[in-house]
Amino acid sequence: MTTLRAFTCDDLFKFNNINLDPLTETYGIPFYLQYLAHWPEYFIVAEAPGGELMGYIMGKAEGSVAREEWHGHVTALSVAPEFRRLGLAAKLMEMLEEISERKGGFFVDLFVRVSNQVAVNMYKQLGYSVYRTVIEYYSANNGEPDEDAYDMRKALSRDTEKKSIIPLPHPVRPEDIE
């Protein structure tokens, strides 16, 4: 019970109820514009009948096809507190996966704070598994230690043998990921 549509610049003026969440990053304008210019189809917003923004997903397609690393990536996914527990995040993920399927991606991946158990569990329920741990991926600014990320993946139909999601045995450093 939602209107799903392309995210536009004007939505940046209305997304406070989503972005004032402590785990949702508000990026600089260039970051959003880069996604809108390059992967507009991957940037989707859900709107309630009263016009409130409920949540959005922002993603991209990247990686080498030859090395079977061409994939969809979830850059940001956030739902406003009052619109949680409706399966909206799952819906938005499903859309991103479908778009990635159409683009011939081998898998979809995302990074999540290891401490964000709620999100990790949700992604697991959606069929994602931890592919590797990235050490100190999230830099803290308040004197606390930097936090690790899980790189979670879900294979798409093109990866018939699900090769892309075989977990790496060792954690990696941020500079080692592409």
Partner: protein, 975 residues
């Protein structure tokens, strides 16, 4: 910024260290290295440019520019120089020079794909659409790649969009673009989705919807695959434009049942819209063939009702994961049928019952309130009590405890109960309670809040507590009570409660926002700084919620914090221009053509932001108030901010209100909620206030120019940076200020109360009542008369002198009046309760601002009167006259300076005494009578009081310091 030559050139090797220095921010070494290289290789132009970049980055703009031009006139064609110059010009904010650069380059190397492409992008950066069109075509002729061709087409579309003359767009630019695409279609050269998108855009803008539909539905439409449901969405849009309601209806029906997302609200709306259009047209299916191209059409109420029933039956048959859409759509259909007075509405059921059923199904979802809120007006007022009681029956609560409050046993029950409470507030039931009733309600809400905390014991710091909203609602009821009774105790307790809430749920943005607003309303800005920073508002949020900070910081006398908050916002706005241009170029590269007009509109929306204009103006005023004639002369300050009195840089006619006025949650009934009138009025007030401030600022610029007329300079930069004020501009600005002041007075007479969590009132009303606007106007009028006196001299100006003398006298009276309005206790203690009187603080700030302006003006007056006086004395000496009367204007001025002295002393004494009495005030001894607080709660309330108290002291201190510095400048007024 590394140079990426295709072949390793020895020059690349030589230049490498300079690049590295620049990349690492070591500009000095970069310059040295470049100098060294240039000694050996005089003709290594790129080294010169790199040196210029180093100079630019160390603040030597002029030198950098001269050096760069030495290379530019040579019209370089080497990659390194071109790229380096591009970077330099961009950093200098002179993107137009990049176009010149590549124009020369393509002239010299006419077959270079790379240079032509750079030229295209350079034009794109500055929005030279016609030249882009030509550059695109030139590129396509050299290298026949489709994207280049379509860049050119898009440039035509941009010419159409930006053309002043709509006719020109429709008859020339767009048809030309259309023909260009058609040519490619005919030659079967269309390759990419982006090209089809662009074709669609053109047809849409031409209003050729039928043709557009053919494209979408035809073979070209098959390329539209990136976006989900791209073709369906486009068809739907076109059906609506074409008013093909049958197709619209059939397609929305289909999309609601079959496809990817069976719960999309927009299709329900389209379904109903089209349905009623068809009914109104008495649509009948065609004699033969399909009902519509899209399949079955619903064209009667009966069909719609049965469609809704089917949809609901499907849901009911499901075990789990019920969709909310069908149930809400049913309510929507009832609303629409009722609007048309269709008795069939009854067939769908009684709204009260349906909403109850919805609640039974979805009441444990936090969004239930948002869902049902929009349908509450389907209930008649006499159903409200019944409705709430009915819902309450469906909330499983445990037996009431000692305090008589029945509490939920788990989070689902809690959420249900909360939803009923929210609905009750939305129906106005809480507002209808008397004081006692409201206090009782608060007690109950607090009990629920406290009780609910147990469910969230394992919540992470980043999560909200399940019962947070009870706390917030109790705070709202406190605010209601405060607004009704004026009892400040309600406010203190409200603050305490929210502080407590925040201590249990440190990420709750709603707590922070309401606290922030309340502290501001109480005149206490100090706690606001931390609250706002804990919201971690960034970038565009400085535009949408930055107003919460910038509206109050300066007016409450926290000048340091005010500068800082303006800076946050300004930094964001200034980066916008450069940033957006880069992504417009990216959009061309990636073929995201529909994003190009969107990005341009976005850039304008930010550039024309009301808040941007406000912080720009306030920041300059603030700098002047704090520094001009203190740390540097007024003239220097004005010059350093490139303030030009004749230039009005605010786009008055296209100001955009980007504030997020609904960022604070509210469950108030409809008649108390933010409406269009509030928004309109708030914008109007803020705009008028901005106009007053901007005119004041420009007038200060004039005064500065009069005091220190700029030396005439020949360089072309004079008009840009120097201050040039002609007397005519003084006159005209004064009359504009006077007009604006009149408008402002009229506007504030029409009182309009905003919802508490809606827009914050502008500073207009308080400023007017403090008398500062009138006082500042009067003082700014003085220079005009003094100018006249300067030309006429003392001898034949009796009338003028009297006029000026009277102005001085009146100004002294006005200032005295203003000061009187500052007197009183900021925290007034009465019957053991403390009542904050923040308006006294605001008045004090207005007084200080006015003093600043009066002093600058007086300084100018002194500079006019001083030579007049000394020439008078010389004359006296010559004539050896015993004693003549001092000309009235001189004695009036001297009198005025001494009354200023006494005024400032008075003000400083007042501030001192306020500081003393505040320090002596023992907040601990104050009772919080008539309240419902536990000891723990009281501690939080005391904390809040301490914060307000400390903030007041800090404001007084900052204001006092500024006033002292101003008082020190008084001696320069001597003549």
């Amino acid at each position: 910024m590394a140079a990426r030559g295709h072949v390793q050139d020895p020059n690349d090797r030589r230049l490498r260290p300079i690049y590295d220095y620049l990349d690492n921010g070591n500009n000095k070494m970069a310059i040295q290295q470049a100098d060294k290289l240039l000694k050996k290789h005089k003709d290594l132009h790129c080294a010169k440019v790199l040196k210029a970049i180093g100079l630019q980055r160390t603040g030597k703009q002029d030198e950098a520019f001269t050096l760069a031009q030495e290379v530019a006139v040579l019209e370089p064609t080497d990659d390194n120089s071109l790229q380096a110059l591009t970077i330099l010009y961009r950093e200098m904010h002179r993107p137009e020079l990049v176009t010149k650069l590549y124009e020369a380059a393509v002239r010299k190397v006419p077959t270079s794909e790379e240079y032509h492409s750079h030229l295209f992008m350079a034009y794109a950066r500055v929005g030279e659409y016609k030249k882009m069109q030509q550059a695109g075509m030139a590129l396509y002729k050299i290298v026949p790649k489709n994207p280049y061709y379509f860049w050119s087409v898009m440039s035509l579309v941009m010419q159409a969009i930006s053309a002043q003359d709509e006719k020109l767009s429709q008859t020339m630019f767009l048809p030309l673009a259309e023909r260009m695409v058609e040519k490619m279609v005919k030659e079967e050269k269309i390759e990419a989705e982006a090209e089809v998108q662009l074709y669609f855009m053109i047809l849409e803008r031409l209003g050729k919807y039928v043709e557009a539909l053919e494209v979408v539905q035809g073979p070209l439409g098959e390329k539209l695959t990136s976006e989900l449901q791209s073709r369906e969405n486009k068809c739907m849009m076109l059906y609506r434009r074409l008013e093909r309601w049958a197709e619209c209806n059939a397609l929305s029906c289909k999309l609601e049942i079959v496809p990817f997302d069976p719960d999309d609200w927009q299709f329900y709306i389209l379904y109903f819209d089209s349905l009623f259009h068809l009914i109104d047209q008495s649509w009948a299916p065609p004699q033969e063939g399909l009902e519509s191209q899209e399949g079955e059409v619903h064209a009667s109420t009966a069909q719609a009702i049965s469609f809704m029933k089917d949809r609901i039956a499907t849901e009911e048959a499901k075990e789990s994961k019920h969709l909310r859409g069908p149930y809400l759509a049913r309510l929507e259909l009832i609303r629409r049928l009722r609007e048309r007075s269709c008795p069939e509405a009854q067939q769908l059921g009684e709204p009260l019952e349906l909403m109850f059923q919805f609640f039974v199904k979805f009441g444990d979802k936090p969004c239930c309130i948002t869902d049902l809120k929009i349908f509450l007006d389907l209930l008649t007022p006499d159903q409200h009590v019944q409705f709430i009681n009915r819902l309450m029956e469906a909330v499983p609560l445990c037996a009431p405890g000692e305090d008589g409050v029945a509490l939920p046993g788990d989070t689902r029950a809690l959420q249900r109960h909360l939803c009923v409470t929210q609905l009750s507030r939305s129906l106005g039931q809480q507002h209808a309670l008397n004081t006692e009733g409201k206090l009782g309600l608060i007690k109950e809400l607090k009990a629920h809040y406290q009780h609910g905390l147990q469910f969230g014991k394992s919540c992470l710091k980043t999560e909200l507590q399940f019962s947070d909203m009870y706390c917030l609602m109790a705070a709202h009821v406190y605010v209601d009570l405060w607004l009704e009774t004026g009892e400040s105790n309600m406010l203190w307790q409200c603050l305490g409660l929210l502080e407590e809430g925040l201590s249990n749920s440190s990420s709750n943005a709603q707590f922070k926002l309401l606290l922030l607003l309340l502290y501001c309303r109480l005149g206490a800005f100090e706690p606001v700084v931390d609250l706002y920073s804990s919201l971690d508002a960034k970038h565009v949020q400085h535009d949408t919620i930055g107003y919460l900070l910038t509206r109050y910081a300066e007016s409450l006398g926290q000048f340091a914090a005010a500068s800082q908050s303006c800076n946050f916002s300004l930094r964001f706005f200034h980066s916008n221009q450069k940033d957006t241009s880069e992504y417009i170029i990216q959009a061309y590269k990636y073929g995201a053509f529909e994003k190009i007009p969107e990005f341009i509109a976005f850039r304008n929306r930010l550039n024309h932001s009301l808040h941007f204009a406000q912080v720009r103006t306030e920041r300059m005023l603030l700098d002047l108030f704090l520094e001009a004639d203190i740390s540097s002369p007024l003239e220097e300050s004005v010059k350093s901010m490139s303030l030009c009195p004749e230039e009005d840089d605010i786009p008055w006619d296209s100001l955009r209100d980007n504030r997020d006025l609904t960022v604070l949650v509210s469950w108030d009934p409809k008649d108390r909620q933010l409406n269009e009138e509030h928004k309109q009025r708030s914008l109007e007030e803020d705009t008028l206030w901005l106009r007053l401030r901007s005119l004041t600022l420009r007038l200060i610029g004039c005064v500065s120019a009069l005091t220190h007329p700029p030396a005439s300079r020949n360089s072309e930069k004079t008009t840009e940076n120097g201050v040039t004020a002609k007397p005519s501009s003084l006159q005209s600005l004064l009359s504009q200020l006077e007009n604006t002041l009149n408008q402002a007075t009229q506007l504030t007479e029409k009182q309009l109360q905003y919802p508490f969590v809606g827009p914050v009132a502008s500073r207009l009303a308080q400023a007017l009542s403090s008398g500062c606007c009138q006082c500042q106007l009067s003082s700014l009028q003085l220079p005009l008369h003094l100018q006249e006196l300067e030309t006429t001299g003392l001898d034949e100006s009796t009338e003028l002198q009297t006029q000026i003398s009277n102005l001085f006298k009146s100004l002294a009276v006005q200032l005295q009046d203003m000061l009187e309005k500052c007197k009183g206790d900021l925290l007034e203690v009465k019957d053991g309760q403390s009542k904050p009187q923040p308006f006294l603080l605001e008045n004090l700030v207005y007084f200080v601002e006015s003093v600043c302006i009066v002093l600058w003006v007086s300084n100018y007056c002194g500079s006019v009167l001083r030579p007049l006086k000394s020439s008078l004395q010389k004359k006296k000496k010559k004539k050896k006259e015993a004693s003549t009367v001092t000309p009235p204007v001189l004695s009036a001025y001297q009198e005025f300076s001494s009354s200023l002295q006494s005024l400032l002393n008075q003000a400083l004494e007042h501030i001192k005494s306020q500081e003393l009495s505040l320090t002596a005030l023992e907040l601990g001894a104050l009772s919080l009578e008539g309240q419902t607080q536990s000891e723990a709660e009281e501690t939080f309330t005391k904390t809040a009081m301490d914060k307000v108290h400390s903030s007041y002291l800090r404001s007084l201190q900052e204001i006092g310091e500024l006033l002292k510095k101003r008082a020190d400048t008084l001696k320069s007024l001597k003549i």
